[in-house]
Symmetry: C2
Subunit: 385 residues, 2 copies
């Protein structure tokens, strides 16, 4: 408890700790003495208050331990090595082509962990590994139950598998919730009581902060905004229903619509970007073409953005958050889609709710989920789970 208070306060004095936990000075000095001896905490400076002796300020000593975070997406694996303060020391990005066999993906995830392990300073070793994956995940068992955007990915016990390979605690959670956790620790919604994070990439997920905690739902499946229906009777979705947001506006859907358009000769520019292979087009290509002024691509992104905004506004109506954070690969790539999202939110969020919500874009770039995964690992020090 004292440790997480030091973490969340960045810098604190012994007096702050005594006040916060209602302990006497002697007890606090004993606890802090132990933490200094173990080198988890270090001196951060001094605070002068009045004529007396200046107060010593304490902070976490980041280098005390290293942690690994792995973010598996439908089109990438990101691996991070970071210290106790979540300061990133190394980053590995690996591109996945849709359709890569599950065993190859798992092997690659482990290879990334291996490499990050060898990067650690001599004498240290990873205290824990955090892994986030899209779809249904059970953090209690560490099983990735279903990631429908990764063909064949089902009921994989990531915790057991990685704990055996790396002999340290392994934490597993959903990627959007991981991103939400990173924002709570490092980002826009630090200290927010009610907020939602939209994670739009190849798939679309959501993290919900309700009453300062991540809302998980009854079976850890909350946040499936990608499967809310935004176009009744619309295109069939991978989940089996029709008109889901993911079937209409995800990176996957944008690529599918672009492919169809290219086959019908809709954009010379985009076709050139794919080296004349319509089947290879990605949402990223569409974003690049849009930034070069390609009308077909701008229109695709705009329509996707309005769809995302509609689903997001519906979530605002249900949850009444004070902040909405736009995040994920789709959002970080292009302002066309961002503007369209805000337009869509305005069309569906009730005016009385809209005027009370702040919409911001995540400042964590594309690494939000990976940072969340590291944070899951680092949190084992503060409250082991």
């Amino acid at each position: 408890m004292a440790l997480s208070f030091i973490r969340d306060s960045v810098e604190v004095s012994r007096g702050d700790l005594a006040d916060r936990f209602g302990l006497d000075r002697k007890t606090v000095s004993r606890i802090v003495g132990g933490l200094l001896e173990e080198s988890i905490v270090e001196l951060a400076g001094y605070r002068e208050i009045g004529p007396g002796r200046p107060q010593e300020l304490l902070k976490l000593r980041g280098e005390w331990a290293r942690f690994i975070g792995i973010d598996l997406g439908a089109t990438h694996i990101i691996g991070l090595l970071a210290d106790l303060n979540l300061k990133v020391e190394e980053r590995i990005f690996y591109h996945i082509r849709p359709g890569l066999p599950v065993q190859v993906i798992l092997k690659q995830m482990k290879a990334i962990c291996d490499r990050l392990c060898t990067s650690m300073p001599a004498g240290t070793r990873s205290r824990a590994i955090g892994i986030c994956v899209p779809g249904f995940v059970d953090p209690r068992t560490g099983v990735s139950e279903l990631a429908e955007n990764i063909p064949g990915w089902q009921d994989i016990n990531l915790r057991d598998d990685f704990e055996q390979s790396f002999e340290c605690p392994v934490l597993v959670d959903d990627s959007s919730r991981a991103w939400g956790r990173a924002e709570l620790r490092l980002g826009a919604n630090r200290g927010m009581r009610d907020a939602i994070l939209l994670d739009a990439g190849y798939g679309i997920g959501m993290a919900i902060v309700a009453d300062r905690k991540l809302h998980r739902g009854s079976t850890n499946r909350a946040g499936e905004v990608g499967h809310t229906v935004v176009q009744p009777g619309g295109p069939r979705c991978a989940c089996g229903n029709r008109g889901c947001l993911e079937a209409v506006a995800s990176g996957r859907a944008i690529a599918a619509f672009a492919q169809e358009g290219l086959r019908n000769g809709k954009s010379e520019l985009l076709l050139r970007l794919t080296k004349n292979d319509p089947g290879a087009v990605t949402a990223q290509d569409v974003a690049i073409a849009a930034s070069m002024g390609d009308n077909f691509s701008v229109d695709l992104l705009r329509r996707a953005g309005v769809g995302i905004g509609l689903a997001l506004g519906n979530a605002v109506n249900i949850l009444n958050p004070s902040m909405v954070i736009l995040a994920g690969g789709l959002v970080s790539r292009n302002s066309v889609i961002e503007q369209a999202i805000i337009e869509g939110v305005r069309a569906s969020a009730m005016p009385g709710l809209m005027e009370q919500v702040e919409v911001v874009t995540s400042e964590l770039g594309t690494d939000g989920s990976a940072l969340g995964a590291v944070s899951m690992a680092a949190d084992t020090v503060f409250a082991p789970n």
Copy 2:
């Protein structure tokens, strides 16, 4: 704390209390002695365990106090007088015709409170009044900020007004959340960790239970499922947006569609029910005609139900509750709409979430919100707010 434990356990022994709160027998006996003396608690019977003396069981003595609950809807006022155990002793139903002036509605609410006060046994008086209203409410100030289905109803300080008139604490909240509270105390989701309640009547609201607590949102406006968009570009809603659930499927919308149909000669039977006045048709008339086999009315209800189900399934995707409770005037009236709602939920809730949610119909009839209002009042005894 001991009191709410006795309430929630229905019957407990002194030993149960000692175990629950980690107190010694002597302290528990002293506390219980005080409660017995005050007549808040009474002997409920005996529990035989083994050869020793049977344990005395305790329960709340309902008659210790009376409470009033007032539920204001767009088309009704319901007033209840109940005891500490929420046993209803008197019920008053008053029909409101849409368009009734705000001052007349307020006067009528007070007249109902007055009548319930005079019904109390000699020597008792109401300990508190709970009032629930639709729309935006701030429970901290007791102000009903906006009820768009009641013309002219805006920024009414119900708490101040009723506290002055009745000289007792007055609690104010949103009607759907009140219904959710009643279910938590008396109904289907007792003890549920994550549940949602759909309250479909003239308007459509929702109560959300997240982690065993009512989720209120950042400004107490959570649960506006009635303003989630289910038909993009659809009919204009009172809130200003297009295609909101309330504009497509509420009691208000059903009446409007029925009126239009009657003007186009769509149903002889329904027209007769309105005594040849299409302008007077209500959703209740449509439900009656449907139960008599009128195809036009069945179709209206079916379409409304599918729309409601779609919005509800979207909420299931976002929140992952273990239980969905269908409630409100529309639902309690007709099985056509109930079946259509379930059909709509199936079309929008993700299969992986749908299989883990139980859909039930509230057993509190049309009085759910009013019971919630009484419960708000009675809870002042357990944890004054």
